[in-house]
Point group: C2
Chain length 214, copies 2
């Protein structure tokens, strides 16, 4: 057994875990809470690129890339395990299983990114939000965090907007339309999916890209 030196770090809501353009030194795994990756465009607007739940790597790419190409922020109070990149690389050299698990994590990460490209490029506001809600529900379920179709949902409407390429105002109206149609219920940080099949239909959601059970 190889001992892997790691340190726990705790971040408050909205705190930056990594910043675009800065040199990288560690890789981090999310232990508790939620985090997201984002990039800012020249006029200051933000695009959220992915959400992460406990157990996922936030930045394995740091192993080989020396400067961060995006920002990482805590969504709520979150803690991570940070490992020096060289230690992780050594561990991966020594242990085939770990190497494979980490590579698999990053390959599935890519698959999710591809689906997000589709979501932003080819679905309207209702579809984009429906798809996002389905994805999060499915991932939380797979992780055993939520058992059914009701789960804690600490995203603000502005964050949903930044993840779906919409404005906060239009996100608000679109959520209302989903509520009015009896598809979801969302209040005080709690989401209930009332009609899973309909939401899947609207969001054109197919879980294949999540590669569960590989």
């Amino acid at each position: 057994m190889v001992a892997l030196p790691w340190s726990k770090r705790v971040f408050n809501r909205d705190a930056y875990l990594a910043r675009e353009g800065e040199p990288t030194s560690v890789c981090t795994v999310l232990l508790n809470g939620l985090a997201f990756r984002q990039k800012l465009v020249s006029d200051g607007r933000r695009q959220i690129i992915s959400f992460h739940i406990a157990g996922e790597f936030l930045d394995v790419q740091n192993c080989l890339l020396d400067v961060a190409d995006h920002n990482v922020q805590a969504l709520n109070r979150a803690s991570v395990a940070a490992v020096h990149k060289s230690a992780l690389i050594d561990l991966m050299s020594a242990r085939v299983n770990i190497r494979r698990a980490i590579w698999l994590d990053s390959l599935i990460d890519s698959s999710v990114l591809r689906e997000w490209v589709v979501n932003l490029g080819r679905r309207d506001a209702r579809g984009r939000i429906a798809h996002l809600l389905c994805e999060l529900a499915d991932r939380l379920r797979a992780a055993g965090v939520a058992d059914g179709e009701t789960y804690d949902f600490p995203l603000t409407q502005e964050q949903i907007a930044d993840a779906t390429g919409l404005t906060a105002v239009h996100t608000n109206r679109t959520l209302q339309s989903l509520r009015k149609d009896g598809l979801i219920s969302l209040s005080s940080s709690r989401l209930a999916i009332l009609d899973w099949d309909a939401l899947v239909e609207i969001g054109d959601f197919n879980e294949r890209y999540l590669h569960h059970g590989v």
Copy 2:
């Protein structure tokens, strides 16, 4: 030296090299020509997810993922080297340098996907197309395929539209607007970037995400 059994395969324009939902058996490297990855949504519209030039892996993820989560098509007449996934995994186990090179390729691939998410989510039509043109110019230059700001450009307007999340009609009008402003010249499959700095400005292009020279 480990011998790697591979076979060359040639594809005509628009031919499918891989189809979503089908089981995977090989990994392919593009030898000649151009290729792209895409996904189709339920109403049949297409979203292009990435473009690939000679020398790039088209589907390393097949090594660990048993079913394709997207389609791969040849953009023009293209040839690839196909390697059985298990052979590639064995080679990666044996050779640290190759393992590192392949992982690096897939990590940069992810970085490009992240930038595409930003492109689709937070830029308008002119910005999206400008960014795409800058990215292709920069990658071709880095690969030594094009020396300057003029290069062969076999994309149809429909393909540009599918890559930028626009319609073909709007893509046409947007290209005209870029031409009218003296930023580009595009005809008979040949693109000239007439004002690189202005195009970079419009597309909010920053080459960092391409991780050249890592």
